[in-house]
């Protein structure tokens, strides 16, 4: 059914297509290449393109040639249990398919695979003459860490200025941050609306909205703000009318405690929703915990960036820190969003999450929350096919008495 939500979804998806290799290679310079989320407001204000090779790889797994790309990635010699998004990125890199950037800014991050990709980029011989800057992310979440990483980001700006010979326009950065704060407030508002029972619209719009706001070339523009405003207004209307998702008789609400990856949303999750009334309320990317950027001074702005990177960025929040924070988030989401079950996809590339399986199982048992661990690959559907995932989840919901 075509409605405002499907139109918004199409708009966001069109922009998200821009994250695949060809549009990324066509980015207008100066181009910064990275291995993870660089604080987006900075390149936007600086007026340069930022290309995240991890995302380009991840989006490669959504292409029709995904299987071939993953297999070619294995041939580059990266570890067999390495995340497949990174395998594809490694292939793109080693095969010389990525346009030479003007500079490379990398960081150690939550994910060992992403860190490996950073090392590969920095050591890639044909790019030996490309200026490089590496940021050091502490694995902790306190004011000192935010300040520390804020300084790293500030140094990255100086590096960009040196490489390009241009100066950061601080008024422009402030302007971009104001727009960014507006967008995050709207995303938080949408998250709030997902608490309604039944869920008023496709909850996956939160993930798409976050990706649209954070990763695409439209990020931090009034176009995205208008998109978000439309989304929130239309969803509020549905809450008022007490309506749920069109064509869905909501019976189960569940948390998908991982990334949705490149294939689960359009296959398994869509089918579960339609056939069983099982609605996926939340995943890593859609879980919004942002605080606004503090615009009082340059230092507070960069400290806010540091906090967002370390604690509020999807996957960094879940993987960079302690099992206690991970478990507390699960409880918070289950309670606030009235989830009936927790699904741990246990993506094979997420060794950090996989090491916490027993902890999560124990936690769920203690609190009487049904929990299923899958052990799938969110980027490669050959590892555990959509049909198998669907069947396992269906059986789980049945034996848990949820359907």
């Amino acid at each position: 059914m075509i409605n405002i939500f499907s139109q918004l979804m199409m708009e966001a998806n069109k922009s998200l297509y821009g994250l695949t290799i060809d549009p990324q290679n066509a980015s207008k310079g100066p181009v910064v290449l990275g291995n993870g989320d660089f604080f987006i407001e900075i390149p936007v204000a600086f007026g340069c393109a930022f290309s995240d090779l991890t995302l380009t790889g991840a989006n490669g797994t959504a292409l029709p040639t995904a299987a071939e790309l993953i297999d070619k990635g294995i041939e580059t010699g990266v570890g067999s249990r390495m995340c497949n998004a990174i395998k594809v990125a490694s292939y793109y890199l080693e095969a010389g398919l990525i346009s030479k950037p003007d500079m490379i800014i990398t960081s150690n991050s939550c994910c060992d695979s992403m860190t490996t990709l950073g090392i590969l980029m920095n050591g890639y011989k044909p790019w030996a003459d490309v200026p490089k800057f590496t940021m050091d992310a502490p694995h902790s979440f306190d004011e000192e860490s935010y300040l520390y990483f804020g300084h790293q980001l500030r140094n990255a700006v100086t590096f960009m200025e040196t490489v390009t010979g241009r100066k950061m326009d601080w008024d422009r950065l402030r302007e971009v941050c104001v727009e960014s704060n507006k967008q995050r407030q709207l995303l938080l508002e949408f998250q709030e609306l997902k608490k309604a029972v039944p869920c008023p619209t496709e909850p996956d719009l939160a993930r798409q909205g976050t990706e649209y706001t954070t990763w695409t070339s439209d990020r931090v523009t009034p176009t995205v703000t208008a998109w978000l405003e439309q989304l929130v207004t239309a969803t509020e209307q549905r809450v008022k009318e007490g309506k749920g998702i069109d064509g869905v008789n909501e019976k189960v609400r569940f948390l998908w405690q991982d990334l949705a990856g490149s294939w689960a949303s359009g296959t398994v999750l869509a089918r579960l929703q339609k056939e069983l009334g099982a609605v996926c309320l939340m995943d890593y990317v859609s879980y919004a915990t942002w605080t606004p950027i503090d615009l009082s001074s340059e230092e507070t702005m960069f400290t806010s960036f540091g906090k967002r990177f370390l604690l509020e960025d999807a996957m960094n929040r879940q993987a960079l820190h302690t099992a206690d924070l991970f478990c507390n988030d699960i409880l918070q989401i289950v309670k606030e969003f009235k989830c009936d079950a927790v699904i741990m996809p246990a993506h094979i590339g997420h060794r950090d999450t996989n090491s916490r399986m027993k902890i999560v199982r124990d936690l769920c048992r203690e609190h009487g929350i049904p929990c299923l661990v899958l052990g799938m690959d969110i980027w490669d559907k050959r590892y555990m096919t959509p049909e198998v995932v669907f069947d396992r989840m269906k059986t789980f919901f049945e034996v848990s008495g949820l359907i």
Binding site: D142, K195, A196, E236, K240, T322
Partner: protein, 291 residues
């Protein structure tokens, strides 16, 4: 269980100090028993009592919007006598006072409220309630609990009780981590919801969930960012204590959640040292071989 005692003393002293300096402070004394508190509360408290979502247009006020500043502190002790059981302290304006800020000067003058008779005030209040929630208070919340049997092991379950969810009619918390950002609905304010109500609701929730609690005090701060900053400073230190408690509790369960990366404290140090020595020897041999 006395690790938080110093901060209980600090928070209490801060309130006394503010009171002494003539700051606007309201104290309410409630009975100790939950059933008595329940008798005199204008909203429902319990699972599924809040309809779920408070829309922007149905919001009377936001508390602790991040731009205004917010802070949530949870403290507990095994010395219940340290606390004044049932006391709710409000430092700053109450919820009902907030709508006035949303009115333009013209609106206030038109209804004649500058003369300040009772009818004017009633009209003014009703006008305030129809205003959109453009207003937000800074918000500090301090919950202090006392119980002889409370120990470090109770930390997780007490923290979990802070996830209020849908338990308070007309009130939704939307915050995460150490901040507290919430909304109060217009409907709840019409029923008389104020900080006393919120304090009562929190006492009902905590005392019901944890029979070990013998005394409980709640404090709210709505004055300004500076006062919230003082609380935030306390909160940072309290967080460090809480992290240590969490770490120890996880250790009891058999997990070390903050693996130390310091080689000097690692049990496997001798193994790594041996490997390093072997590698050094190998490199020496290689360099000798290669001349």
């Amino acid at each position: 269980m006395d690790v938080y005692d110093i901060y209980i003393e600090k928070c209490t002293a801060k309130i006394d100090d503010m009171y002494a300096k003539g700051r606007r402070i309201k104290f309410t004394q409630l009975p100790s028993s939950v059933s008595e508190i329940r008798k005199d509360i204008c909203i429902k408290v319990g699972e599924k009592e809040s309809s779920g979502v408070i829309l922007r247009e149905d919001t009377f006020i936001e508390l602790g919007n991040p731009e205004m500043g917010s802070c949530s502190i949870l403290l507990y002790t095994d010395k219940p006598a340290m606390l004044n059981d049932g006391r709710i302290t409000l430092i700053g304006p109450d919820i009902n006072d907030s709508g006035v800020n949303n009115l333009s000067f013209d609106e206030i003058v038109i209804i004649g409220s500058l003369h300040g008779n009772d009818m004017d005030i009633v009209e003014l209040e009703s006008l305030c309630r129809n205003k959109n929630a453009t207003q937000s208070f800074p918000f500090g919340q301090i919950i202090m609990l006392g119980g002889k049997e409370l120990t470090e092991k109770d930390f997780e379950s007490l923290r979990e009780t802070l996830i209020i969810g849908d338990q308070i009619e007309g009130y939704r918390v939307r915050s995460f981590s150490e901040n507290i950002w919430s909304r109060v609905s217009k409907q709840a304010v019409d029923k008389g919801f104020n900080f006393e109500t919120l304090g009562k609701a929190l006492m009902i929730i905590f005392k019901t969930a944890h029979p070990k609690i013998e005394s409980m005090e709640v404090g709210f701060v709505t004055t300004n960012k500076d006062d919230i900053s003082i609380l935030k400073e306390y909160s940072k230190q309290i967080l460090k204590i809480s992290k240590e408690i969490v770490k120890e509790n996880w250790k009891i369960k058999g997990y070390d959640i903050e693996c130390s990366s310091d080689c000097n404290t690692c049990d496997d140090k001798p193994v790594c040292d041996d490997i390093r020595e072997v590698l050094k020897d190998k490199m020496k041999k290689n360099s000798t071989k290669n001349g």
